[in-house]
Amino acid sequence: MTRASDDVIIKALARLLMPFIVAYALYVVMHGHHSPGGGFQGGVILAAGFVLLVVTHGLEQTRKRMSEKLAGVISSIGVFIYGGIGALCLILGGNYLDYGKLSKILLVTPAEARSLGILGVEIGVALAVMAVMYIIFFAIFTAGESPEDDGRAE
């Protein structure tokens, strides 16, 4: 899809900026409870970083770091983390996503448990959003023809 053209400048810039973009996205996710941002925004920035990598370095380089299958697994894990924390609060006798009740199993005060619970939910949301955006972009970019599916289709 992407030609092996010699776009040295954009490639080199993407190479330099890519680790910083991903680190910044993780910062947005992890500090969601006392600065703007949170799971959804952080996940979108993560996915934007991967989009930049696909556009500049081609599909193969990106597949080496994260394949579509792994992205599918990660999206399920993200939803599971979110739902799991909510259900755990239900089991411990509170409402759905009532983080204060988590203090019984985390052995901390309810305030700290609330902070940790929000952090966990945000990580789950970020993983799910990132993986789903990544899958959507791959489906558009390859026009639905993934080479991983070739063996099964025939």
Binding site: D7, I9, I10, L13, L16, L17
Partner: protein
């Protein structure tokens, strides 16, 4: 009024002046490539000057370090974005405006 404020105001005004010239260039120049001259150079320096002005006003702290980081990022990214757009035009065989072409019209 403090010395810091005066320096900050000077930087901001210089940045605003270069933003204005960049915008006028974007509107007035005759051709796509020539317009990129205005935005690619003008916006880089204007953002740099404005960010330095804000950092001076805010004083020395972690926030001004972040502002300097944005300045470095813009310094790298703005010429690259300009190059990306102009390369797309060049690969699609769009010819630049020349004086001879301007006279014909």
């Amino acid at each position: 009024m403090l010395v810091k404020d005066v320096i900050s105001i000077l930087f901001m005004l210089a940045g605003f002046f270069f933003f204005t010239t960049a915008t006028l260039g974007l509107l007035r120049l005759p051709d796509f490539y020539a317009r990129l001259h205005a935005t690619g150079k003008g916006d880089t320096l204007a953002v740099l000057l404005s960010l330095v002005g804000l950092a001076v006003y805010h004083g020395f702290s972690l926030t001004s370090a972040k502002i300097v980081f944005i300045a470095v990022f813009m310094f790298l990214a703005q010429p690259t974005a300009t190059h990306a757009i102009s390369r797309a035009a060049f690969r699609c065989q769009i010819q630049p405006w020349t004086v001879a072409k301007g006279r014909e019209k």
